[in-house]
Each structure stands twice: as C-alpha cells, then as structure tokens.
Symmetry: none
Subunit: 189 residues, 4 copies
DNA sequence: TCTTAATCGAGACGGTACGTCGTGTCTTGAG
DNA sequence: CTCAAGACACGACGTACCGTCTCGATTAAGA
C-alpha cells in the first residue's frame, strides 16, 4: 500500500558511489558526498545500506561481476587464466576498493559476512568449479581438498594485495601456480 | 638543558594500549582512552608515535617477538612448526591486533611500510631462513624462489585471518603444507 | 465526481494532536507522531493544514471557545471575571499550547496572522465589547482608547505566560486590574 | 594545569553570531554557520553553550547592555524615557532577536531561566529602581507593588512585540503610560 | 451502473540542521 | 624541554523532522 523503493535512487547512489570512489579513492569519499552526487537524501542511503562500506561493496560487486566463462580447455590453463584475472583486478583501481572493504570488514562483522558471502564467496565458487572439473577430468588429484587448494592458489594473491610486499600482475599469478601445481596435479611423475 | 624522555610513560602507554585493545577490541579504543588509561597526555603519545595504529603495532611487536628458534631438524618439520605457530597466533587475541593493523595500513602508507618492515618482514625473514637451510641441505628444490614459496605457504593463513572464511589453527597449517609440499621438495618422484 | 473530505479523519487528527500535545508537550510532538496516532497519512494532514502549528491551533480553538457570556453587571466586575478566566486558562494545560503557538508564530508570518486573527483577535473582541459597554454606561472614561486599555489589562497576563517570571491565576488578574483601574474609570475623584 | 578557555574564540563566536543574526535573522543562522564564520570548531561552541539560542542570548546581552542612566528628574519623565527605549529596541533588529529567544525559551527550561535572569531580570531591575525612587520622592503611591506596576507598564510592550497586533515605538510607549499613570501616582486628584 | 477523479493510509523521498565523536595540534602551568 | 591535562580546528558521522511525492486501495459524484 505504501510507496515502494525508488529503484532510480538506488541506481544513482551506486553509480555516484562508483564514480566518486574511482575518482578520489574510497578513503576520500563520504556519505554526504555520495548523497549529494546522487541527488539523494542521506537518510535514503541509511535506509537501505548500513554503512558507506556496504554501498561501496554493492557498487564493487556490480563492477566485477562479469561472469565470463571463456576458459581454456585444460585445467592448468583454466586455473592460470582465472588467477591472472584476479591478479590483474587486484592490481587495478578495483584492487583499492577491495583492500578498503577488507579493511572495513575488520571490526564490522556484518560487513565481513556480506563481503565473504557476496564478493569473496561468489568468485571462490567459480574457482572451485574449475578445480572440480579438473578432478573429474583426471587432471587433478582425486583426493584434492578444493578449499585447501583455493586457499593455496589465491591466498598468495590476497597477501600481496593486502600487505603490498610484492607486485601483482600476470607474472605473479604464474609464479604462484608454478610452485603450487605439483601439489595439485594427478600424476606428479 | 632539556628534559629526557620519560621511559615510564612509554611503558604505561604500551601496556595500556595492549590492555585496552585486548579487552575492548582495537576498533573501540581511542587515543584519548589510551592516554587516560596510561595517565599520560595525548601530546606525549603523538610526540613519540605517529598514530594510534603505530602504538598498537609497538605493543604487538613486544607481544609476539619471542624469537624462539627451537625448530626440528628436518626442513619439513621445521616449516610445519613455524606455520603452526603463525596459525595459532592468528587464531589468538593477537590475531585481532594484526587484522586491525592490516586494516589501518590500507590508506596509511607510512603505517603499511612500518608494518611490512617491522612485523611482516621480520617474521618472513625467519621463514626464509628455514627454507634456505632446506635448499642448502638438499631437501628443497635448488631453484626454489624463496619469496614465492613463502607467499604460497603463509598466504593461505593470512587469507583465513583477514577474510575469516575458515578456521585457523594447527590443522589448517598442516593442510596447507600438505598441498604445497610437493611443489617445494627436491625430488618429487 | 470526486471523493469528499473525510470528516472522521479531521476529527482523529485534532483529537490525536490534542492528546499528544497535552501528554508530551507541544515541542515533543512531530507531525509523524500525530499522523501515526490518528491513523492518518501525513499527506492528509498537509492537505488540510499548512503546518503542525496550524493543527495545534485548531485543536486549541476547539478547546477554548466556550463563548460564555455570563458576565456580572458592573463593568469592573465583568472585566475582572474575563481577566480571571484568561489568567486561569494561561495557567492550565492550554497555556502551554498557547505559549507554543506564540513561539511558532515568531518566524512564521502566516501562522502569526492566523493566531492573531483566530485566537487572539477573537478573544480580544470579547474584551473590547465589555469595555465598550463600560464607556456607554459611563463607568469608563469616554475618551478611553479600547486597544490601549486592552493591552494594559491583558499584556501583563501574556507577559507572565511567556516569560514565566511570576505566577498566573485569579489573584494575578486582580492585582493587575487594581493597578490599572484608576486609569480607566470615569471619575477618579 | 590544563589549557584554559580560549577567550579569543569566545569573542569570535559571539561576534560572528551577532553579525550573522543581524544580517540574516536568527532563524536563518545555524550553529555550523556561526562556527565557520568564527573559525571555530562546532565542538567548541557546544563545549561552552548548550544551544544556538544560548549563544545568541549572550550576544544579545552584550548588544543591549548600555546601562545608560541619564534619566530625567521627574519620575513620570524617567519612566517614559525608559519605556520609550524599550519600545524602540523592540521595534529594531534586536526586537527580532528577543522574539526568537522568547520563542526558543518555550520548551527549553534552562534557556527560559537564563533569559529571565540575565536579560529580562536585569532590565527589570533598572525599571524597578526608577519606580522605587518615585515612591521615595512621593511621586508614586507609597503602597504601590513594584512588580505589578512593572508588569502593567511593560507587559503591553512585550505583548506588541510577541503578538505583533500593533506597532511599537515611542508613541506606543506614551499611550501605555498615559493609561497606566493614574493608577501609579500618589495623588490622583 | 459504471466511470472517473479526488481522497485515503502508508511510507519513501530530497533536504537541512542537529549534536556527537575521534583525530592530531596547540596551550597552559608545573617540574 | 618534557610532562599531564584538556581546549582547540576540523571533518564525518548517523539521526530527526520537515514538507513533498508516489503507490495501491477506497469512495462518491456524474455520465
């Protein structure tokens, strides 16, 4: 019976958030900025998102949800392409957003959960699918624990993103894979 | 002519910071809180540390600098013990401090550098030493890149600390090592 | 052709406004409160009243519009009775409503005009009638300016209402009249 | 031992408040405006004043505290001059401030008290002194109640200020005094 | 009797100001 | 010069209330 949520306002908020964040970095954007840029009252933001970080996360998810599935045939190559894409994204402007969201997640359990489920979990599922295919095809060890494998493959990339001790990029992904692969493949000989 | 630094004040600041942070979590502690608890003027804190996070980092380093070197003889066992110690620490109260410091490091380049050099780098050097010993003894591949290996071994643990998608602990360390080891050892056959 | 105004809604709004204001004081009542209590949409309020204060004024006028005309015969006594009624009302719950309306009138010209004409003016006309009768009967000076006299008689009561420096009540009205009367009556000697 | 209140900041706040209010009217001035104009943090305002109205009242008191005592010799003339000054002030820019403060006082007991004691009471004391002198000199009735007399003399002026039903100004003051005087003077004959 | 348009309850909306919080700097008076 | 205390400038926060708007449902007059 009551007025329904204004979808246009939602869009303007997310678009403005994305624009502002990519122009000034997430640290330099305030809720007031987003509201002003979106032509929206601050209350409207707080009505639908619990925090600035939640808005930015929604924007990020829209930005990085291409769901491209054009992967090579062999598992090794497929994993390599997926890792490279992650490494490249981590090294891009979006990497900064992700770092910021992980930072905000420390000490905000709800945001952490949301991040884990909606961003991290979603991408992880895609990595898992590749590994499962690899097991099914016999390219990967049949007793491989998918979660362990994913941690080992992507953990190093996250580490570089968050600590910044080494460069990210295609080469980084390849190095990690080279070290890890022997532990994953079916016939090490 | 000038008065010298009050060492007792430094101690009270670090002790209070540690106490407050471990009692209320790092997010809920302000500089004023630390100053009040330490019976110290805020200026005294800012005279010697650049930010709240720097204080906490000093406290953390004090807490986690045991420098125990009682490692087993074989490289596999030595790495395993080191990884377990890290995983256990990540799962303890100190893990929360570390998460907070990583969070604060995003968007504070000076702190990030400090964290990288004083906490991360220091511990990494110990891990590197173990791997170097393993190469020298022939247990590890002679062409192994130490940095890559360290990222692969410890990245998964950091990932779990910062994302919280899986438990930390001795078992977690062992799982990671089991997957990674084939890529590190000298003669996989 | 069109639907007509819902009289029941009007009643519920005024009743709820009165109830809320007398229970919580006028300052602590919002338009949303009134709408919720009346089971009415906010738009319905704004369709028929220009502001919250206008609603309260309508409620006040309903409350204080007895139009009793049972006044004593002599002008002195009639004025005294009228002043006492005003003083008593000012000291009652309704006094608080009036204070609030005067307050809201500062800085809201339309409300001020409305208040002046519908509440203030209406009651003032009754006071004027009494004085005019007194002039006609020879009890009051024939050259008396009615408006000046009304200001002098009722100004002190309004002052006490709005500044709160002294008590209101029957005795207050009598004191004022005692001081003022010599300036009003026809033959002071 | 601690830093003391910054008197210069206090001055800047009051000056800015006065300037802004006299340029834009009290309704259109916000605490942020005052803080910005004074080059002061909002916190500094809230540290020393409970509300915007309290700031404005302080400024008002400074503005209207001339304490001129150059009054004529006869009591009638002295009262007339004092009333005229009040009427003129009520009709000036400051009148608007006073109206606003009275408005804010309804529903803010602390402010009301402050206004009563510091602004209203202070000026009332001066009026009382004049009447007391008049009693002592025999010009006024020896049994005159000072408070009643003051209410009767000034109540009409306040009424015009706050209701706005009639003009303020020198003439208004004279009219009131003309009506009231017979009730005050010693020998009505 | 069906149409049609204004009404209703509900509540989301844009906007403005609020008062609070935390940071890092500055000032005071004591040692 | 250092210290404890705490006032300061600044900037962002999240809340409150206002008056407008949009929805779907209801209701009464006019076709």
């Amino acid at each position: 019976m009551a007025r329904t949520r204004d979808e246009a306002a939602r869009r303007r908020v997310l678009d403005s958030a994305r624009d502002l964040v990519s122009r000034r970095g997430p640290r330099a954007v305030t809720v007031d900025d987003i509201a002003a840029a979106a032509g929206v009252g601050k209350q409207t933001i707080y009505r639908w998102w619990p925090s600035k970080a939640a808005v930015i996360m929604d924007a990020l998810i829209e930005l990085t949800d291409p769901a491209r599935d054009d992967l090579p045939d062999t598992t090794y190559e497929a994993v390599r392409v997926q890792m490279r894409r992650v490494a490249v994204m981590f090294g891009s402007r979006n990497g900064e957003l992700i770092r910021e969201l992980v930072a905000d997640s420390q000490g905000d359990a709800a945001l952490a959960k949301d991040f884990r489920e909606r961003f991290f979990g979603h991408r992880r599922a895609r990595g898992a699918a590749t590994l499962e295919r690899g097991i099914a095809s016999g390219e990967l060890r049949p007793d491989l624990d998918i979660d362990d494998a994913l941690d080992v493959l992507y953990g190093p990339l996250w580490l570089r993103l968050l600590i910044g001790h080494r460069r990210l990029g295609r080469a980084g992904a390849d190095e990690v894979l080279a070290v890890v692969w022997p532990g994953l493949q079916n016939q090490p000989g």
